[in-house]
């Protein structure tokens, strides 16, 4: 079995700050990490590899520095890694991104058929969750999003059975391979990299494809040109007009503070009085 995992290098958004005056992102010094959701997908692929001796290839599209994301994936146990990088890919929205990735996957398939494509649920910088569906649609593969468990892979019959998070419950779905799976967060914990894998990852000769090497002829389908969406404005969330009214009392005793709060709140927001209806339910 051959599993392809699509990963993305993203800025660690927990560390991103907005410049208070210019309202622009301050990227300096913000570390680049592997999109955490993609690591869940990678771990799930590696677990399948443990069970079935599958081959795991990681693919990323990004700037040359995205190489480090691939090496990270290799250190966890991925077998091969391919970097798709070309200035012509820059500025891609999800439609153009899935075009480039699908082209690369077709090319990978020529060498060795791909049974499963894994991606994370979404990225932490774009948060779109659209590249997985885009890839599946372009390659005519079955799509299973928000997968919380892989129940069974039956290579002989070419089938996979998974659990998929849906509204109000879990769908147990069976479909035909090849399929694209986007993996739900929090369903596993990434393993530790082993010393031999870390050494191998450091020395591994990455495959690097530019646009032509990936077999993409039509430049109007990739990068900014291939993106139907245009960002017209970027701005910081507007601060609320007013800061909190700080409740103060002479004593600063909890009971007094709370009594003052309630008096103010019920006077200024009368509907709250009626909204309160205590419950006797026992919670477990």
């Amino acid at each position: 079995m051959h599993i392809l995992v699509c990963i993305k290098q993203v800025p660690d958004s927990a560390q991103i700050r907005v410049h208070p005056v210019t309202n622009t992102i301050m990227r300096q010094g913000v570390p680049a990490i592997v999109n955490p959701y993609d690591l869940v997908a990678l771990e799930e692929a590696l677990r399948l590899k443990d069970r079935t001796s599958a081959r795991v290839t990681v693919l990323t599209m990004g700037p040359p520095q995205a190489e480090s994301a691939l090496r990270k994936a290799l250190s966890f146990g991925a077998d091969e890694a391919i970097l798709l990088t070309d200035r012509a890919f820059a500025g891609a929205d999800t439609l153009a991104t899935s075009y480039a990735l699908a082209a690369a996957i077709r090319k990978i398939r020529d060498d060795m058929p791909v049974d499963l494509v894994f991606t994370g649920k979404q990225t932490i910088d774009g948060d779109t969750a659209q590249v997985g569906p885009g890839i599946a649609t372009r390659l005519g593969m079955q799509l299973l999003t928000y997968v919380s468990r892989i129940d069974r892979v039956d290579l002989e019959r070419g089938e996979i059975t998974v659990q998929r998070r849906a509204e109000g419950g879990v769908q147990v779905l069976r479909t035909r391979l090849p399929a694209v799976i986007t993996v739900l967060e929090g369903i596993n914990e990434m393993r530790f990299a082993t010393m031999p894998d870390m050494f191998r990852a450091a020395r591994y000769g990455l495959t690097v494809w530019d646009r032509e090497a990936a077999g993409i002829g039509d430049v109007t389908k990739i990068g900014l040109k291939g993106s139907p969406t245009v960002v017209s404005r970027v701005f910081a969330p507007t601060p609320r007009a007013q800061k909190a009214e700080i409740i103060q009392t002479q004593s600063e005793q909890p009971d007094d503070l709370v009594a003052t709060l309630l008096a103010k709140m019920f006077t200024k927001h009368p509907p709250l009085r009626a909204a309160i209806c205590p419950r006797a339910v026992q919670r477990t």
Partner: protein
């Protein structure tokens, strides 16, 4: 290189003439999502918002209903009319009984190609995001995911879809200038619910999806309903008491539950608290959790990081308890108590219990 890393695209505006093949695209369509016989509330929120967009553009608002039978579809169409739709496209087929990507994508794509809306909106649910991604790719059009604001750009009649990016640190407004339909998925609970007006009616246009079950590759073997429907409760709770890392120890979180019981409230939490296992993940509020719009939100031991804020700032009244007077939560809360939550929470529980006891006596 997915949508909207701000530096990767010029923030300017590409001047554009709409391609002639798209000039016939008119109207606003809302995909009506339903599960277990009930319409997902986000579809009503979208009808409310879609109504405003349609009125601004001077076009009709249509609901798109995909269902297993005419009987089921009719009930959903009626609800769509009550919430603002002028007409509904109703596609029924046994293969549409439950959501699967392939038949839903095919049916919705066909409806769009036949009836050519300029705007197509879906809820940013697991269904909506799965479906929208496939439909947009099939149609080769732009899709803006997980939006929190929709408007019509006055310059070019385009849909201006605003969404958080970088985990909510920034917002960006995205246009789809040269392609139709302009598609967006919208996060649940961000838009208000429209009034339900049972005197409203509309036209139903029957669609005949060309589906054959044997051709549908993916089969549903089983549906396991969630045991606890906390999800719905939290999203629609009038009062929420939420706790953060400032509560320090899991047993202190008990104080949050106690206050919630006194108020008849739901319990929410920040991500670190969920990650530490103090409460289940379905209670996480924020960018990677739920969006809520309660009348009252009490935040105890929460710093007010932007990823939390985006999920709860729609609350009418926010009360924050935090000993750090510089905590960001005081920048947007309504009331602040600068003190230790472990002392304030029990005092609040007692005070609210007294309040309700007094209310009961008064009745």
């Amino acid at each position: 290189m997915t949508q909207a890393p701000p530096s990767s695209k010029p923030a300017g505006r590409r001047k554009a003439e709409l391609d002639p093949r798209f000039t016939s695209y008119k109207g606003v369509f809302v995909f009506i999502e339903h599960n277990a016989g009930a319409i997902h509330p986000v579809s009503f929120e979208l009808l409310g918002e879609g109504r405003k967009l349609a009125d601004k553009l001077g076009v009709e608002l249509a609901g798109v209903v995909l269902a297993e039978s005419d009987g089921a579809a009719e009930a959903f169409c009626a609800e769509a009319f009550f919430h603002g739709a002028d007409l509904c496209y109703s596609a029924t087929h046994p293969a549409l009984a439950h959501y699967r990507n392939q038949p839903y994508t095919q049916t919705l794509t066909d409806i769009v190609n036949r009836h050519q809306p300029e705007i197509l909106l879906l809820g940013a649910t697991t269904m909506g995001r799965d479906l929208a991604g496939s439909v947009a790719t099939t149609l080769q059009t732009g899709l803006t995911a997980d939006c929190t604001g929709l408007a019509i750009d006055p310059d070019n009649r385009s849909l201006a879809a605003t969404r958080p990016t970088f985990g909510g640190t920034l917002l960006c407004t995205i246009l789809t200038l040269n392609y139709r339909p302009q598609m967006a998925t919208v996060r649940p609970r961000v838009m208000g619910l429209p009034e339900r007006d049972t005197s409203r009616h509309g036209r139903i246009i029957a669609e005949h999806p060309d589906l054959i079950e044997q051709d549908i590759v993916t089969k549903l073997l089983e549906f396991i309903p969630d045991e606890r429907r906390d999800e719905a409760n939290l999203a629609f709770a009038d009062i929420i008491v939420a706790g953060g890392r400032g509560l320090k120890r899991p047993d202190n979180f008990r104080l949050v539950w106690d206050l919630a019981d006194a108020l008849g409230a739901e319990v929410g939490a920040t991500r670190p608290v969920v990650q530490a296992g103090w409460v289940t993940a379905d209670r996480q509020i924020g960018q990677s959790g739920k969006t809520v719009r309660p009348k009252l939100y009490i935040a105890a031991g929460i710093s007010g990081a932007v990823q939390h804020r985006v999920g709860m700032e729609g609350a009418d009244v926010i009360v924050a308890i935090n000993p750090d007077p510089d905590a960001p939560i005081f920048d947007f809360a309504t009331y602040g108590i600068v003190a230790n939550a472990m002392q304030i929470l029990p005092a609040m529980t007692a005070a609210f219990r007294q309040h309700t006891a007094a209310m009961k006596k008064a009745v």
